[in-house]
Symmetry: C2
Subunit: 185 residues, 2 copies
DNA sequence: TTAATCATGTAACACGTTACATGATTGC
DNA sequence: GCAATCATGTAACGTGTTACATGATTAA
Protein backbone atom coordinates (compact mmCIF):
# COMPACT_ATOMS: atom_id res chain seq x y z
CA UNK A 1 0.00 0.00 0.00
CA UNK A 2 0.90 3.61 -0.36
CA UNK A 3 0.56 5.30 3.00
CA UNK A 4 3.93 3.74 3.77
CA UNK A 5 5.41 5.03 0.53
CA UNK A 6 4.03 8.50 0.99
CA UNK A 7 5.71 8.61 4.39
CA UNK A 8 8.96 7.36 2.88
CA UNK A 9 8.73 10.06 0.23
CA UNK A 10 8.21 12.80 2.79
CA UNK A 11 10.99 11.52 5.04
CA UNK A 12 13.27 11.57 2.03
CA UNK A 13 13.02 15.38 2.18
CA UNK A 14 14.23 15.38 5.78
CA UNK A 15 13.85 14.11 9.33
CA UNK A 16 10.37 14.56 10.80
CA UNK A 17 8.20 13.57 13.74
CA UNK A 18 4.96 11.65 13.39
CA UNK A 19 3.01 14.77 14.17
CA UNK A 20 4.82 16.76 11.50
CA UNK A 21 4.42 13.92 9.02
CA UNK A 22 0.70 13.90 9.63
CA UNK A 23 0.44 17.62 8.91
CA UNK A 24 2.73 17.43 5.88
CA UNK A 25 0.81 14.46 4.58
CA UNK A 26 -2.54 16.21 4.79
CA UNK A 27 -1.15 19.39 3.29
CA UNK A 28 0.59 17.84 0.30
CA UNK A 29 -0.59 14.27 -0.35
CA UNK A 30 -3.96 14.75 1.29
CA UNK A 31 -5.72 15.39 -1.98
CA UNK A 32 -5.15 11.87 -3.27
CA UNK A 33 -4.44 9.94 -0.08
CA UNK A 34 -5.84 10.26 3.41
CA UNK A 35 -4.65 8.81 6.68
CA UNK A 36 -5.74 9.26 10.26
CA UNK A 37 -3.05 10.32 12.69
CA UNK A 38 -3.44 7.05 14.58
CA UNK A 39 -2.84 5.10 11.40
CA UNK A 40 0.29 7.07 10.61
CA UNK A 41 1.71 6.26 14.04
CA UNK A 42 0.90 2.62 13.52
CA UNK A 43 2.55 2.55 10.10
CA UNK A 44 5.63 4.34 11.39
CA UNK A 45 5.99 1.72 14.11
CA UNK A 46 5.62 -1.05 11.53
CA UNK A 47 8.12 0.58 9.20
CA UNK A 48 10.61 0.90 12.00
CA UNK A 49 10.13 -2.79 12.83
CA UNK A 50 10.89 -3.72 9.23
CA UNK A 51 14.04 -1.62 9.29
CA UNK A 52 13.03 1.21 6.98
CA UNK A 53 13.31 3.88 9.65
CA UNK A 54 15.12 4.73 12.83
CA UNK A 55 13.64 6.96 15.49
CA UNK A 56 15.15 9.22 18.07
CA UNK A 57 13.28 10.62 21.03
CA UNK A 58 13.75 14.36 21.44
CA UNK A 59 12.82 15.92 24.76
CA UNK A 60 11.49 19.46 24.51
CA UNK A 61 10.85 22.14 27.08
CA UNK A 62 7.29 23.48 27.30
CA UNK A 63 6.16 20.86 24.77
CA UNK A 64 5.70 17.10 24.90
CA UNK A 65 8.73 15.20 23.71
CA UNK A 66 8.64 13.95 20.15
CA UNK A 67 10.15 11.19 18.07
CA UNK A 68 12.13 12.11 15.00
CA UNK A 69 12.12 9.54 12.23
CA UNK A 70 14.88 9.15 9.67
CA UNK A 71 15.19 6.89 6.63
CA UNK A 72 17.64 4.01 6.73
CA UNK A 73 19.39 2.63 3.66
CA UNK A 74 16.73 -0.09 3.51
CA UNK A 75 14.06 2.62 3.62
CA UNK A 76 15.68 4.50 0.76
CA UNK A 77 15.86 1.28 -1.19
CA UNK A 78 12.18 0.56 -0.57
CA UNK A 79 11.29 4.04 -1.77
CA UNK A 80 13.45 3.68 -4.89
CA UNK A 81 11.85 0.33 -5.68
CA UNK A 82 8.38 1.78 -5.34
CA UNK A 83 9.29 4.72 -7.55
CA UNK A 84 10.79 2.41 -10.17
CA UNK A 85 7.83 0.04 -10.25
CA UNK A 86 6.66 0.17 -13.89
CA UNK A 87 3.10 -0.72 -12.86
CA UNK A 88 2.62 2.20 -10.47
CA UNK A 89 -0.99 1.46 -9.55
CA UNK A 90 -2.30 2.57 -12.92
CA UNK A 91 -5.15 0.08 -13.11
CA UNK A 92 -6.56 0.94 -9.69
CA UNK A 93 -6.16 4.66 -10.34
CA UNK A 94 -9.32 4.75 -12.44
CA UNK A 95 -11.41 2.83 -9.97
CA UNK A 96 -14.32 4.75 -8.53
CA UNK A 97 -15.81 3.90 -5.15
CA UNK A 98 -18.81 5.98 -4.39
CA UNK A 99 -21.77 5.31 -2.16
CA UNK A 100 -23.21 8.50 -3.62
CA UNK A 101 -23.30 7.08 -7.16
CA UNK A 102 -24.80 3.91 -5.81
CA UNK A 103 -27.52 5.99 -4.22
CA UNK A 104 -28.14 7.77 -7.53
CA UNK A 105 -28.27 4.42 -9.28
CA UNK A 106 -31.20 3.46 -7.06
CA UNK A 107 -32.83 6.88 -7.51
CA UNK A 108 -35.84 5.28 -9.15
CA UNK A 109 -36.87 3.84 -5.80
CA UNK A 110 -37.39 7.24 -4.14
CA UNK A 111 -39.31 10.43 -4.92
CA UNK A 112 -37.28 12.45 -7.45
CA UNK A 113 -36.93 15.46 -5.14
CA UNK A 114 -34.78 13.43 -2.77
CA UNK A 115 -32.28 12.49 -5.44
CA UNK A 116 -32.31 16.06 -6.72
CA UNK A 117 -31.49 17.35 -3.24
CA UNK A 118 -28.63 14.89 -3.04
CA UNK A 119 -27.17 15.89 -6.40
CA UNK A 120 -27.47 19.55 -5.42
CA UNK A 121 -25.44 18.83 -2.32
CA UNK A 122 -22.91 17.03 -4.47
CA UNK A 123 -22.72 19.97 -6.87
CA UNK A 124 -22.13 22.35 -3.97
CA UNK A 125 -19.40 20.14 -2.56
CA UNK A 126 -17.72 19.89 -5.94
CA UNK A 127 -17.75 23.65 -6.37
CA UNK A 128 -16.32 24.06 -2.90
CA UNK A 129 -13.58 21.54 -3.67
CA UNK A 130 -12.75 23.36 -6.88
CA UNK A 131 -12.41 26.65 -5.05
CA UNK A 132 -10.29 25.07 -2.32
CA UNK A 133 -7.99 23.58 -4.95
CA UNK A 134 -7.62 26.99 -6.56
CA UNK A 135 -6.37 28.29 -3.24
CA UNK A 136 -3.91 25.41 -2.96
CA UNK A 137 -2.61 25.99 -6.46
CA UNK A 138 -2.12 29.64 -5.69
CA UNK A 139 -0.03 28.77 -2.66
CA UNK A 140 2.01 26.30 -4.73
CA UNK A 141 2.61 29.04 -7.30
CA UNK A 142 3.74 31.32 -4.51
CA UNK A 143 6.04 28.67 -3.12
CA UNK A 144 7.42 28.12 -6.63
CA UNK A 145 8.59 31.72 -6.68
CA UNK A 146 10.54 31.55 -3.46
CA UNK A 147 12.02 28.08 -3.91
CA UNK A 148 12.27 27.56 -7.62
CA UNK A 149 12.97 23.83 -7.63
CA UNK A 150 11.09 23.72 -10.88
CA UNK A 151 11.69 20.01 -11.35
CA UNK A 152 9.66 19.01 -8.31
CA UNK A 153 7.00 21.69 -8.61
CA UNK A 154 6.25 20.64 -12.16
CA UNK A 155 4.89 17.34 -10.89
CA UNK A 156 2.99 18.91 -8.02
CA UNK A 157 1.24 21.12 -10.53
CA UNK A 158 0.39 18.10 -12.67
CA UNK A 159 -1.35 16.45 -9.74
CA UNK A 160 -3.23 19.65 -8.93
CA UNK A 161 -4.37 19.83 -12.55
CA UNK A 162 -5.76 16.35 -12.27
CA UNK A 163 -7.82 17.46 -9.31
CA UNK A 164 -8.99 20.48 -11.21
CA UNK A 165 -10.18 18.39 -14.15
CA UNK A 166 -11.83 15.90 -11.85
CA UNK A 167 -13.78 18.49 -9.85
CA UNK A 168 -14.74 20.35 -13.01
CA UNK A 169 -16.11 17.14 -14.50
CA UNK A 170 -18.04 16.55 -11.28
CA UNK A 171 -19.58 20.03 -11.31
CA UNK A 172 -20.50 19.78 -14.97
CA UNK A 173 -22.08 16.38 -14.51
CA UNK A 174 -24.12 17.57 -11.53
CA UNK A 175 -25.40 20.64 -13.37
CA UNK A 176 -26.49 18.65 -16.40
CA UNK A 177 -28.07 15.97 -14.24
CA UNK A 178 -30.00 18.57 -12.28
CA UNK A 179 -31.19 20.34 -15.43
CA UNK A 180 -32.49 17.04 -16.70
CA UNK A 181 -34.19 15.97 -13.48
CA UNK A 182 -35.62 19.36 -12.62
CA UNK A 183 -37.16 19.73 -16.07
CA UNK A 184 -39.30 16.68 -15.42
CA UNK A 185 -40.67 17.81 -12.08
CA UNK B 1 -20.96 0.91 4.39
CA UNK B 2 -22.48 0.36 1.01
CA UNK B 3 -21.71 -3.13 -0.13
CA UNK B 4 -24.56 -4.16 2.17
CA UNK B 5 -26.87 -1.56 0.69
CA UNK B 6 -26.02 -2.46 -2.87
CA UNK B 7 -26.94 -6.03 -2.08
CA UNK B 8 -30.19 -4.88 -0.46
CA UNK B 9 -30.97 -2.84 -3.57
CA UNK B 10 -30.39 -5.77 -5.88
CA UNK B 11 -32.40 -8.16 -3.73
CA UNK B 12 -35.21 -5.64 -3.82
CA UNK B 13 -35.56 -6.51 -7.51
CA UNK B 14 -35.99 -10.19 -6.68
CA UNK B 15 -34.68 -13.30 -4.96
CA UNK B 16 -31.11 -14.21 -5.84
CA UNK B 17 -28.24 -16.47 -4.84
CA UNK B 18 -24.86 -15.18 -3.68
CA UNK B 19 -23.33 -16.21 -6.95
CA UNK B 20 -25.96 -14.37 -8.95
CA UNK B 21 -25.63 -11.33 -6.71
CA UNK B 22 -21.92 -11.28 -7.33
CA UNK B 23 -22.44 -11.29 -11.09
CA UNK B 24 -25.23 -8.74 -10.96
CA UNK B 25 -23.16 -6.55 -8.68
CA UNK B 26 -20.18 -6.53 -11.01
CA UNK B 27 -22.36 -5.97 -14.04
CA UNK B 28 -24.39 -3.07 -12.69
CA UNK B 29 -22.80 -1.54 -9.59
CA UNK B 30 -19.29 -2.66 -10.47
CA UNK B 31 -18.36 0.68 -11.98
CA UNK B 32 -18.61 2.52 -8.67
CA UNK B 33 -18.31 -0.27 -6.13
CA UNK B 34 -16.30 -3.47 -6.15
CA UNK B 35 -16.52 -6.50 -3.97
CA UNK B 36 -14.80 -9.86 -4.02
CA UNK B 37 -17.06 -12.88 -4.10
CA UNK B 38 -15.76 -13.97 -0.71
CA UNK B 39 -16.68 -10.61 0.77
CA UNK B 40 -20.18 -10.79 -0.65
CA UNK B 41 -20.72 -14.17 0.98
CA UNK B 42 -19.45 -12.81 4.27
CA UNK B 43 -21.73 -9.77 4.08
CA UNK B 44 -24.72 -11.92 3.18
CA UNK B 45 -24.08 -14.08 6.23
CA UNK B 46 -23.81 -10.96 8.42
CA UNK B 47 -26.98 -9.49 6.95
CA UNK B 48 -28.84 -12.69 7.60
CA UNK B 49 -27.61 -12.66 11.20
CA UNK B 50 -28.93 -9.14 11.66
CA UNK B 51 -32.29 -10.18 10.27
CA UNK B 52 -32.26 -8.33 6.95
CA UNK B 53 -32.41 -11.49 4.86
CA UNK B 54 -33.66 -15.02 4.93
CA UNK B 55 -32.03 -17.78 2.93
CA UNK B 56 -33.32 -20.98 1.46
CA UNK B 57 -31.13 -23.80 0.22
CA UNK B 58 -32.11 -25.00 -3.25
CA UNK B 59 -30.78 -28.38 -4.42
CA UNK B 60 -30.12 -28.57 -8.15
CA UNK B 61 -29.36 -31.50 -10.47
CA UNK B 62 -26.11 -31.30 -12.43
CA UNK B 63 -25.15 -28.17 -10.52
CA UNK B 64 -24.06 -27.47 -6.95
CA UNK B 65 -26.92 -26.51 -4.71
CA UNK B 66 -27.39 -22.81 -4.08
CA UNK B 67 -28.84 -20.53 -1.44
CA UNK B 68 -31.52 -18.09 -2.43
CA UNK B 69 -31.67 -14.89 -0.42
CA UNK B 70 -34.79 -12.82 0.10
CA UNK B 71 -35.36 -9.48 1.84
CA UNK B 72 -37.23 -9.44 5.13
CA UNK B 73 -39.31 -6.49 6.31
CA UNK B 74 -36.34 -5.35 8.39
CA UNK B 75 -34.18 -5.54 5.26
CA UNK B 76 -36.64 -3.43 3.29
CA UNK B 77 -36.68 -0.93 6.11
CA UNK B 78 -32.88 -0.76 6.18
CA UNK B 79 -32.85 -0.14 2.43
CA UNK B 80 -35.50 2.57 2.71
CA UNK B 81 -33.57 4.28 5.49
CA UNK B 82 -30.40 4.26 3.46
CA UNK B 83 -32.22 5.64 0.42
CA UNK B 84 -33.82 8.37 2.53
CA UNK B 85 -30.59 9.44 4.21
CA UNK B 86 -30.23 13.12 3.23
CA UNK B 87 -26.42 12.91 3.55
CA UNK B 88 -25.97 10.11 1.04
CA UNK B 89 -22.18 9.96 1.19
CA UNK B 90 -21.79 13.21 -0.73
CA UNK B 91 -18.66 14.38 1.08
CA UNK B 92 -16.74 11.14 0.54
CA UNK B 93 -17.86 10.96 -3.07
CA UNK B 94 -15.26 13.49 -4.16
CA UNK B 95 -12.42 11.83 -2.31
CA UNK B 96 -9.64 10.57 -4.51
CA UNK B 97 -7.38 7.76 -3.44
CA UNK B 98 -4.69 7.08 -5.94
CA UNK B 99 -1.27 5.56 -5.53
CA UNK B 100 -0.71 6.56 -9.14
CA UNK B 101 -1.10 10.27 -8.39
CA UNK B 102 1.16 9.86 -5.40
CA UNK B 103 3.76 8.35 -7.69
CA UNK B 104 3.39 11.29 -10.10
CA UNK B 105 3.74 13.67 -7.17
CA UNK B 106 7.17 12.21 -6.47
CA UNK B 107 8.07 12.24 -10.19
CA UNK B 108 10.92 14.65 -9.52
CA UNK B 109 12.84 11.86 -7.79
CA UNK B 110 13.09 9.67 -10.90
CA UNK B 111 14.24 10.09 -14.50
CA UNK B 112 11.42 11.80 -16.45
CA UNK B 113 11.05 8.91 -18.89
CA UNK B 114 9.80 6.67 -16.10
CA UNK B 115 6.99 9.02 -15.14
CA UNK B 116 6.17 9.55 -18.80
CA UNK B 117 5.87 5.79 -19.30
CA UNK B 118 3.55 5.63 -16.31
CA UNK B 119 1.31 8.41 -17.55
CA UNK B 120 1.18 6.79 -20.97
CA UNK B 121 -0.03 3.60 -19.35
CA UNK B 122 -2.62 5.61 -17.46
CA UNK B 123 -3.77 7.31 -20.66
CA UNK B 124 -4.14 3.92 -22.36
CA UNK B 125 -6.12 2.55 -19.43
CA UNK B 126 -8.39 5.59 -19.43
CA UNK B 127 -9.08 5.26 -23.12
CA UNK B 128 -9.82 1.59 -22.65
CA UNK B 129 -12.20 2.37 -19.79
CA UNK B 130 -13.94 4.98 -21.92
CA UNK B 131 -14.46 2.47 -24.73
CA UNK B 132 -15.69 -0.17 -22.31
CA UNK B 133 -18.18 2.26 -20.85
CA UNK B 134 -19.44 3.06 -24.33
CA UNK B 135 -20.18 -0.63 -24.79
CA UNK B 136 -22.00 -0.72 -21.46
CA UNK B 137 -24.08 2.32 -22.35
CA UNK B 138 -25.02 0.74 -25.65
CA UNK B 139 -26.26 -2.36 -23.86
CA UNK B 140 -28.22 -0.20 -21.42
CA UNK B 141 -29.79 1.61 -24.37
CA UNK B 142 -30.68 -1.74 -25.87
CA UNK B 143 -32.15 -2.92 -22.61
CA UNK B 144 -34.11 0.35 -22.38
CA UNK B 145 -35.86 -0.56 -25.62
CA UNK B 146 -37.04 -3.95 -24.47
CA UNK B 147 -37.94 -3.03 -20.90
CA UNK B 148 -38.88 0.61 -21.01
CA UNK B 149 -38.94 1.27 -17.29
CA UNK B 150 -37.78 4.75 -18.11
CA UNK B 151 -37.85 5.84 -14.49
CA UNK B 152 -35.09 3.45 -13.43
CA UNK B 153 -33.05 3.65 -16.59
CA UNK B 154 -32.88 7.42 -16.33
CA UNK B 155 -30.77 7.09 -13.21
CA UNK B 156 -28.61 4.31 -14.61
CA UNK B 157 -27.78 6.59 -17.52
CA UNK B 158 -26.91 9.40 -15.14
CA UNK B 159 -24.38 7.20 -13.41
CA UNK B 160 -22.92 6.10 -16.74
CA UNK B 161 -22.58 9.74 -17.75
CA UNK B 162 -20.60 10.41 -14.62
CA UNK B 163 -18.22 7.66 -15.62
CA UNK B 164 -17.98 9.09 -19.10
CA UNK B 165 -17.08 12.55 -17.79
CA UNK B 166 -14.59 11.11 -15.35
CA UNK B 167 -12.76 8.99 -17.91
CA UNK B 168 -12.76 11.82 -20.41
CA UNK B 169 -11.22 14.14 -17.85
CA UNK B 170 -8.59 11.47 -17.14
CA UNK B 171 -7.71 11.05 -20.82
CA UNK B 172 -7.52 14.78 -21.36
CA UNK B 173 -5.33 15.29 -18.32
CA UNK B 174 -2.95 12.52 -19.38
CA UNK B 175 -2.61 13.90 -22.91
CA UNK B 176 -1.83 17.39 -21.73
CA UNK B 177 0.58 16.12 -19.10
CA UNK B 178 2.40 14.01 -21.69
CA UNK B 179 2.60 16.89 -24.16
CA UNK B 180 4.17 19.02 -21.44
CA UNK B 181 6.63 16.41 -20.23
CA UNK B 182 7.62 15.12 -23.66
CA UNK B 183 8.34 18.65 -24.89
CA UNK B 184 11.06 19.00 -22.28
CA UNK B 185 12.88 15.76 -23.09
C1' DT C 1 -6.68 -31.70 -21.83
C1' DT C 2 -7.21 -27.39 -20.25
C1' DA C 3 -9.98 -23.76 -18.92
C1' DA C 4 -14.32 -21.82 -17.73
C1' DT C 5 -18.76 -21.95 -15.39
C1' DC C 6 -21.44 -23.08 -11.48
C1' DA C 7 -21.60 -22.39 -6.24
C1' DT C 8 -20.22 -22.18 -1.75
C1' DG C 9 -17.33 -20.80 1.68
C1' DT C 10 -12.95 -20.49 5.47
C1' DA C 11 -8.76 -18.39 7.16
C1' DA C 12 -5.56 -15.13 7.52
C1' DC C 13 -3.95 -10.92 6.82
C1' DA C 14 -3.86 -5.91 5.52
C1' DC C 15 -5.63 -1.58 5.89
C1' DG C 16 -8.99 2.11 7.48
C1' DT C 17 -11.86 4.31 11.07
C1' DT C 18 -13.43 5.73 15.57
C1' DA C 19 -13.14 6.46 20.27
C1' DC C 20 -10.42 7.28 23.96
C1' DA C 21 -6.36 8.70 27.06
C1' DT C 22 -2.77 11.95 28.69
C1' DG C 23 -1.33 16.70 29.97
C1' DA C 24 1.04 21.13 29.50
C1' DT C 25 0.84 25.62 26.94
C1' DT C 26 -1.03 29.38 24.37
C1' DG C 27 -4.48 32.53 22.33
C1' DC C 28 -9.42 34.41 22.28
C1' DG D 1 -12.80 29.85 31.16
C1' DC D 2 -12.63 27.28 26.71
C1' DA D 3 -10.71 25.77 22.68
C1' DA D 4 -6.78 24.86 20.00
C1' DT D 5 -2.03 23.32 19.46
C1' DC D 6 1.54 20.16 20.49
C1' DA D 7 2.60 15.03 20.64
C1' DT D 8 2.14 10.43 21.47
C1' DG D 9 -0.24 6.40 21.25
C1' DT D 10 -3.80 1.94 22.49
C1' DA D 11 -7.92 -0.79 21.63
C1' DA D 12 -11.51 -2.30 19.18
C1' DC D 13 -13.91 -2.74 15.33
C1' DG D 14 -15.07 -2.59 10.29
C1' DT D 15 -13.94 -3.40 5.74
C1' DG D 16 -11.10 -5.08 1.80
C1' DT D 17 -7.91 -8.52 -0.20
C1' DT D 18 -5.70 -12.92 -1.16
C1' DA D 19 -5.14 -17.62 -1.06
C1' DC D 20 -7.12 -21.78 -0.75
C1' DA D 21 -10.60 -25.79 -0.86
C1' DT D 22 -14.27 -28.57 -3.06
C1' DG D 23 -16.07 -30.96 -7.20
C1' DA D 24 -19.10 -31.78 -11.14
C1' DT D 25 -20.07 -30.20 -16.00
C1' DT D 26 -19.24 -28.21 -20.43
C1' DA D 27 -17.01 -25.87 -24.32
C1' DA D 28 -12.54 -24.80 -27.11
Amino acid sequence: MSLKHGLLGLLNYGVMSGYELNKAFNASLGFFWQGQASQIYRELAAMERSGWLTSERVVQEDKPSKKLYALTEAGKKALAEWLADPDGGVAEALRVRSAFLMRVFFGGETPPVETIALIRAFRDESEKALRALGATSASVAEYAQTVPDENKIKYWRLVAKFGDGYYRAAVEWARKALAELEAKL
